[in-house]
Amino acid sequence: MADTPPPGRSPDQPADAASLPTGAGVPAVIENSVPAVQGTPAPIDVSARRLNEDEFDQPNPTLAGFAAGFGLTFSTMFKKVYTQQYPFEVFPTAPRYHGRHVLNRHPDGLEKCVGCELCAWACPADAIYVEGGDNTEEARFSPGERYGKVYQINYLRCIFCGLCIEACPTRSLTMSNEYELALDNRQDLIYTKEQLMAPLLPGMEAPPHPMRLGDEKAYYTPRPQKGAPQREANVAGKPITGHAIEVGGHHA
């Protein structure tokens, strides 16, 4: 804007009062500051001309102008501090925040995962690796025919989109609200089944053990009620600790 001079004035000539429009938007101080320079062409009608940007930005060196500017700054001293003191004060996430995963259990402790690999198929980032295994009468881990023998999620690939959760037919896989996952090596960020399994609540028994709640049908018929709170996702909201790093592991 500033590079196009107004008509009747060469670029190197200072803006004088005659070429400036008077009235709204222009401070009164300028009006009678500089007299019209002799020899300049007769001022054309500038009332229709739009103000240049630098003309808008004329300072307002009055006391009221300073008071308005500094007053705004000063008034923030009486406003509430906006900063969230995160590590010292922890704010909850949205209730359905996509944090790290949990592999849930049936009320008797058997795993809900049946090793179908649908989560791995749904994953757009190929972050999930599942190997199914066969349940036997001697060693039963889940009510169905099969169970997830190996279950790994690579958190350096996972984008927390939740498509695996939608794909899971038994609601075995859900997400917790936990998010503090940073670690200093890639290997430990591949979470294994032991890290992902929900903890054993009172009344649960670590598999393998036979089905305690009746036949397979009894396990699978009660679908999650529509409208029922989705509590199981937060069962294992406890952060995983115990990750130790080598002293002096800094390479540079």
């Binding site: 906006y82 900063t83 969230q84 003191q85 995160y86 590590p87 010292f88 004060e89 922890v90 704010f91 909850p92 996430t93 949205a94 209730p95 359905r96 925040y97 757009p124 980032a125 190929d126 690579n154 958190y155 350096l156 690939r157 996972c158 984008i159 927390f160 989109c161 609200n177 998010y179 503090e180 996952l181 940073a182 670690l183 200093d184 090596n185 890639r186 960020l189 999650p224 529509k226 409208g227 029922a228 709170p229 989705q230 509590r231 996702a233 937060n234 952060p239 600790t241 115990g242 990750h243 130790a244 790093i245 080598e246 002293v247 002096g248 592991g249 800094h250 390479h251 540079a252």
Partner: protein, 191 residues
């Protein structure tokens, strides 16, 4: 890493180590290095709501010589890789790197020919931060874990040899520092 490695025998550095590490971790100046969407969260981290100035790192340096920390925020394309390396090389030692987000850490969902599969292929990484993108709290958590790592750094090769094999635990920041916990999540949503 620095001058301390050139020191001759017989100079006691007992609590200098703690002091040096404290100064290093208390003013980690990050170099401006936003590459993609993670940079938006990184900017939020510097803005008033999360206020990185609380950790002595308010100003993102546009000049690598004045920076100690590179937060690689976003996917690194093959074309960008030499630039990342050059900026890293221009930073003065000691220097640290956080790979922010899954793309910088491992390539993330972009498992293809255009993206470097993890920035640790070109520069050494000290902290990997999952998430797509990670929320600013996750970045603060990663930085505080890095602080913990720095404050346990041995000073000089002799000290490093003495401490070799020892380990320090990385505790989630909310467990380590939280004094106040604001109300738990509202009753979880429905299916």
């Amino acid at each position: 890493m620095g001058l301390e490695e050139k020191l001759p025998d017989g100079i006691l550095l007992a609590s200098v180590e703690g002091l040096v590490n404290w100064t290093r971790k208390s003013s980690l100046w990050p170099v401006t290095f936003g590459l993609a969407c993670c940079a938006i969260e990184m900017m939020t981290f510097g803005a008033p709501r999360f206020d990185s100035a609380r950790f002595g790192m308010e100003v993102f340096r546009p000049s690598p010589r004045q920076a100690d920390l590179m937060i690689v925020a976003g996917r690194v394309s093959q074309k960008m890789a030499p630039v990342v390396r050059q900026i890293y090389d221009q930073m003065a030692e000691p220097r640290w790197v956080i790979a922010m987000g899954v793309c910088a850490s491992s390539g993330g969902m972009f498992n293809n020919y255009a993206i470097v599969q993890g920035v640790d292929h070109i520069i050494p990484v000290d902290m990997y931060l999952p998430g797509c993108p990670p929320r600013p709290e996750m970045l603060i958590d990663a930085i505080l874990k890095l602080h913990h790592k720095i404050s346990n750094e041995p000073l000089g090769p002799k000290r490093a040899a003495k401490l070799a094999g020892q380990k320090v635990e990385l505790v989630p920041s909310s467990q380590k520092f939280a004094k106040v916990r604001h109300g738990a999540s509202e009753e979880a949503g429905n299916d």
